[in-house]
């Protein structure tokens, strides 16, 4: 590409000035739109186009070669089958549980790691490291640690006289167990975000609060919590989006089992895809899209709005 492209561009945008006018060149000249071309094509072809196509194909019976319009049958199947409805409910439970726990635990850990205790750097590293580790590796390891008879967790519980549950074999518990591992792996990120939020609070606020005779609890409640609201918003947004879409950990630990007790929408999409029900799988993608959007758009708006006040 040569310099002609930006000149023609700016001729289009700055109508009143001739293309070679110095002022106009300074305004848009060095920022040509052709910089966006390659990334826009990649994003458009590999992300935006499939998203648009999903709306059409979710109304078809589809084998990737021919698609037959069947109206809302896929959605009827999706909401009619118990396994898939469980997946929808589990997605919500998993997302809310993990992001809620990450907010609470992350904030408490950040409070601890910004207080005057020893070995803060070490503790931060230890809590943060699981964030970087392979989700599959973590999932397989915990599957073995959670083995009902021989797993380390239940053996440790046994030595203090507690009969450990069948973490991943009990249908009522499997999803919660995976959520616990997700919290274990992700709480470090929430913690460092909260630490960044807490250390950015100017010390004047603490001094003023101390002068007014505020207790430690009051300082946390009335100074730290409201002032690190942007950090809270980030943690909620990040972990909720991640939690609702979550697939890797569930697939590594239970594959949605036992039965379909820990299936989420993302694992249902994969199972339907594997089984060759492409239209149904695509309907699952659309359901997940709608679920994430319905939750995230108002939530993001609300979190950011509060920030301006």
């Amino acid at each position: 590409m040569t310099h002609t492209a930006p000149l023609t561009n700016q001729a289009g945008t700055a109508r009143t000035r001739p293309p070679r006018a110095g002022r106009s060149r300074r305004r848009t000249g060095p920022y040509p739109l052709y910089f966006l071309l390659v990334p826009a094509v990649i994003y458009g072809v590999f992300f935006a186009l499939p998203t648009l196509l999903s709306f059409y194909y979710s109304f078809t019976r589809w084998d990737l070669f021919t698609a037959t319009w069947i109206g809302v049958d896929n959605y009827r199947a999706f909401f009619g089958e118990q396994a898939l409805v469980t997946g929808l409910r589990n997605t919500l439970v998993f997302g809310v549980l993990t992001s809620g726990a990450k907010v609470v635990l992350g904030f408490l850990l950040a409070l601890m790691l910004t207080s005057k205790i020893i070995a803060r750097g070490y503790l931060r590293s230890v809590i943060f490291f699981p964030v970087l580790v392979s989700t599959i590796g973590v999932g397989l390891t915990f599957t073995i640690l959670m083995n009902p008879e021989r797993g380390l967790i239940n053996q440790a519980l046994g030595t203090i006289g507690v009969a450990g549950p069948g973490w991943l074999t009990d249908p009522a518990l499997a999803l919660i167990s995976v959520a616990l591992v997700d919290i274990w792996k992700g709480v470090g990120l929430a913690t460092v975000i909260f630490i960044a939020g807490l250390v950015s609070i100017p010390t004047e606020y603490y001094e003023a609060a101390a002068l007014d005779g505020a207790s430690k609890f009051q300082i946390v409640r009335n100074v730290m919590l409201p002032l690190c609201r942007p950090a809270t918003a980030s943690v909620i947004t990040l972990s909720l989006i991640g939690g609702l879409r979550s697939f890797d950990l569930i697939w590594a630990m239970t594959k949605g089992g036992p039965g379909f007790a820990s299936d989420v929408i993302a694992s249902v999409i994969y199972k339907q895809y594997q089984a060759g029900f492409y239209g149904l799988s695509t309907a699952g993608s659309v359901v997940l899209f709608l679920l994430v959007t319905i939750i995230m758009v108002p939530l993001t708006w609300w979190l950011n709005r509060g920030e301006d006040n």
Binding site: F47, L49, P50, T51, I117, L123, L140, R150, A196, I241
Partner: protein, 275 residues
């Protein structure tokens, strides 16, 4: 006096985090060092017969050196995707931040959608098939770039807001074209955010499991994460080899963490608090 509390608090925290965060990793290491019979007991104990290096070797050799092929594939995937992501997202963020106007609104919408919308899997497979890119490494690389762009663009944009426009204008007055302003003036001053983006995306893409599973299936060119998942059924009764593999897969992030600890933690925090 205050320090006494700090020592007690820190001591308790060291023990508690040790139990919750270090024991799982110690378990991986210990099991990877045991022989087959002892590893099957799943106990948290020192190996009677310390065979860590034999196990690592066996994990490498298993299934005709599949691990080595997988490591190589993951390396190619990660390096190419991250390099492309850095250049492309820096360019988009530069135009977005500097230019404003309608194009900025368009980029803003695309970035927000990209962050929130979960990708539609089967239509993506369909598009890849039409382009002849399904089950190919280039196809998967395009996918990683497309999915990674929004987050990286946000990081770059936040950083660019702190770089004065006068810098671009001075270069413009000196007669530099857009390409040379961007590559010779802007990119060099963004060094620190480039490092952040590189580290974060390296970790994300190296650890990615779902996209290789969908878009690069089959045994031809697996990545390290899909290979690890495949070993799980292969090594169902060979826990020493399974954990040797988990250990190998965990080593690269560990090495990165040792060298870039501060940079990673700061980058993650900065990248997450909205740009």
């Amino acid at each position: 006096m205050r320090n006494v509390r700090g020592v007690i608090g820190g001591g308790v925290a060291i023990i508690v985090t040790g139990i919750f965060f270090l024991i799982p990793f110690a378990f991986i290491l210990l099991t990877a060092a045991k022989d087959k019979t002892e590893s099957a007991l799943l106990e948290f104990s020192w190996p009677k017969n310390f065979v860590l290096f034999e196990n690592l070797q066996a994990a490498f050799v298993a299934r005709d050196y599949l691990m080595i092929i997988a490591f190589f594939n993951s390396l190619v995937l990660t390096v190419v995707s991250v390099a492309a992501l850095v250049i492309f997202s820096a360019m988009v963020a530069y135009i977005w931040q500097r230019r404003g106007g309608r194009s900025a609104g368009f980029v803003n919408a695309a970035v927000l959608l990209g962050l929130i919308v979960p990708p539609a899997i089967v239509p993506t497979v369909f598009v890849l098939q039409k382009l002849g890119l399904f089950k190919t490494m280039p196809g998967l690389i395009f996918i990683e770039i497309a999915y990674g762009l929004p987050f990286c663009i946000l990081l770059f944009r936040a950083f660019l807001a702190g770089i004065p426009r006068e810098l671009d204008e001075a270069a413009l007055v000196d007669g530099a074209g857009p390409m040379s302003i961007f590559f010779r003036v802007i990119l060099p001053v963004m060094k620190s955010v480039i490092v952040t983006v590189t580290i974060l995306q390296t970790v994300f893409i190296y650890n990615d499991f779902q996209n290789p599973l969908y878009f690069l299936p089959g045994s031809g060119a697996p990545t390290i994460q899909t290979t690890l998942m495949g070993f799980q059924s292969q090594f169902l009764t060979q826990y020493h080899l399974l954990f040797a593999t988990i250990l190998l897969v965990t080593l690269p992030p560990l090495i990165m963490f040792i060298f870039f600890n501060r940079k990673i933690v700061e980058g993650m925090a900065a990248g997450s608090v909205k740009g």
